[in-house]
């Protein structure tokens, strides 16, 4: 047996070198794709700006390159469109990664980042600040949403813990928590909001990237990147969950610790994103499935791929939301759902693992 192993090992050895090369090439390709999406997003809008101007503006801002750019164009590109695109990219990446992790951990194809009550809690927090005036003007809408998301997640996590911590317990606790906080939001809106406030909140709930600036990006980017990094470090553990928690334990995975770390990571990441831009639906549900179709189920590849796809998808969705109706910005959640629902339908039909006949 040992001698056989050596023969095969010798034959397969050259495969080790291309791995590093493949890694570098795919990172470069990913970066190029993301950069193109960002430049495209900064170029397209009510005022069309040539991509060369966008690139010059970026060069000026990052390296003081001293290129000649119209200051109005530069202002639109840098202060308005690019910051917004970068936040959209971070948010898309974070939601997609969260979706992948939750679907794997809970072994449920329907899991999405809002399953844990985060979006419902964020909306309650947001309306508490915006309509009830909670915090007496000291809390911003975002802070209120973030706190609401954390409260809801804590409640859901506590309920899931008491219910036995199984996948089904977590999913049902999430449903209970979401229903509770959605009802609370509706109650506050119906009871206290005037028509304008109701419309504003509605808009926020569907996802809203207008008003997003570089301060938001400086929070969103590190949160998305560190969340992705933590999840990638757990990629092998997530692979091992394919056959359930017992199988994962038998493969040497500290099941409870991985579950808690991964769920807390995606919950925090999602809470930050929701508090910045509202709850943008469908990204965290559809992108993970699309990414699996493209790159397969191994998480070391799947997680970064889903992050990239989520980022590019949301950047493009934001562009569409800005240009589809002239003079008006559509909530980005409407765009993601309008594109996402048919895409999801196509995935449902194409994916053999959803078939009943096994």
């Amino acid at each position: 047996m040992a001698s056989e192993t050596h023969v095969v090992a010798g034959a397969a050895a050259p495969a080790a070198t291309p791995f590093a090369l493949r890694l570098v090439l795919s990172c470069l390709a990913a970066f190029a794709l993301l950069l193109s999406a960002l430049v495209f997003a900064a170029a397209v809008g009510e005022t069309q700006i040539p991509p060369s101007v966008v690139l010059n503006t970026i060069a000026n801002a990052l390296w003081n390159a001293g290129r000649e750019v119209d200051p109005i164009d530069a202002g639109i590109v840098w202060n308005y469109r690019l910051s917004r695109a970068v936040v959209a990219a971070s948010c898309g990446a974070a939601l997609a990664v969260s979706g992948v992790v939750l679907q794997s951990l809970l072994r449920n194809a329907l899991a999405d980042p809002y399953l844990l009550g985060i979006s419902a809690g964020a909306s309650s927090g947001a309306v508490s600040v915006a309509i009830l005036g909670l915090g007496g003007g000291l809390l911003t809408l975002s802070t209120g949403a973030f706190l609401g998301a954390l409260v809801a997640f804590a409640l859901v996590a506590g309920l899931a813990w008491l219910a036995g911590r199984g996948s089904i317990a977590i999913i049902l606790a999430g449903i209970a928590g979401s229903q509770l906080f959605n009802a609370l939001t509706s109650f506050i809106v119906v009871r206290s909001a005037n028509a304008d406030e109701t419309r504003g909140i509605m808009f926020w709930l569907l996802g809203n990237l207008s008003g997003v600036r570089w301060e938001d990006a400086s929070l969103a980017v590190p949160v998305a990147l560190s969340g992705l990094a933590i999840c990638v470090l757990h990629a092998r553990a997530l692979d091992a969950f394919a056959f359930g928690t017992d199988a994962a334990a038998a493969l040497g995975i500290p099941v409870r610790r991985v579950q808690m770390t991964a769920i807390a990571t995606v919950a925090l990441m999602t809470a930050v994103m929701v508090s910045l831009v509202g709850s943008i639906g469908f990204v965290g549900l559809v992108i993970p499935h699309a990414a699996r179709l493209v790159v397969g189920v191994r998480h070391t590849v799947l997680l970064p791929s889903a992050a990239l796809m989520g980022a590019v998808f949301l950047v493009l969705a934001d562009v569409v939301s800005r240009i589809v109706i002239e003079g008006q910005v559509l909530p980005i959640g409407v765009v993601t759902a309008l594109v996402g629902a048919p895409a999801f339908a196509a995935i449902l039909i194409a994916n053999p693992s959803f078939r009943a006949s096994r």
Binding site: A9, A15, D239, F243, A250, L251, P352
Partner: protein
């Protein structure tokens, strides 16, 4: 390495599923665990494999309690083949076997050529070499079970624990799997429901009944007509062949005998 259960038990909702079981594996042996449905075989298996902590008593690996060794180190020495583990992920056959390398890999280390060779070897040994690219969902129950075994072998354990591994297999593959386990130099601990196969392949047989270990020893000593009637409620005719192997034929006991049984 010796796996030892020291008076272990587990109670679920006030009902003892396994009570007071002590046994120790002999390195390289094939230990079969037999018993009727609900006798606690699966629960005992899950405690021996370290995926359920015993409610009382201790499981020791090489003299150290499993709880002190750490999951990863345990998984480098003990592999488990569960009954009917299923997945919703679109894995390929080879990816399933590659999962067996998990306890030997760092979080970011890629599969090395050596890992690939171990996976190849494991797939070959269960006769699934040509199936690498097949999707899990396109495989039969028996093929899936053989892949689970290959995955366990790819773990390169010293001890392999199996819960009714022959359940989904046709008779040819049942015998092939048991022969493969028998010829390996692994310590094998397997819950089996076929007493004939236990008699044929096991070095020792442990009999579970009502959560307790009622007998432990070589097949000829354990599988007596009396014990089979007590434990399994059937009549057995046991014949010893020229090579010393046991063959067992069963029939339901006569109604007249049932009052005494």
């Amino acid at each position: 390495m010796i796996l030892e259960a020291s008076r272990i038990g587990r109670t679920v909702s006030g009902k003892p599923i396994v009570a007071d079981v002590s046994l120790a594996s002999v390195p390289g042996e094939f230990l079969a665990i037999v018993g009727p449905n609900g006798s606690g075989k699966s629960t005992l298996i899950s405690m021996l494999a370290g995926i359920r902590p015993p409610g009382h008593g201790r499981v020791l690996l090489g003299g150290r309690p499993l709880s002190e060794i750490g999951r990863r180190a345990v998984a480098q020495r003990i592999a488990l083949v569960e009954q009917q583990a299923e997945t919703g992920e679109a894995l390929t056959a080879r990816q399933v076997v590659e999962l067996g390398r998990t306890p030997h890999l760092g979080p970011l280390a890629p599969y090395s050529a050596e890992d690939a060779a171990i996976v190849d070897e494991a797939m070959r040994s269960v006769g699934m070499s040509g199936f690498g690219k097949r999707r899990w969902h396109s495989l039969s129950g028996g093929e899936r079970q053989r892949l689970h075994l290959a995955r366990a072998l790819a773990q390169r354990p010293e001890i392999i624990i199996l819960d009714e591994p022959t359940n989904h297999l046709d008779v040819q593959h049942q015998l092939a799997l048991l022969t493969l386990l028998r010829r390996s130099n692994l310590t094998v601990i397997a819950a089996l429901h076929d007493l004939g196969q236990a008699a044929l392949f096991a070095d020792r047989i442990a009999v579970m009944d009502g959560g307790r270990l009622t007998a432990l020893g070589p097949p000829a000593a354990v599988l007596t007509r009396e014990r089979i009637r007590q434990t399994f409620k059937v009549d057995a005719a046991i014949e010893t062949g020229e090579d010393g192997s046991l063959s067992i034929r069963f029939r339901l006991p006569d109604p007249a005998d049932q009052s005494s049984g």
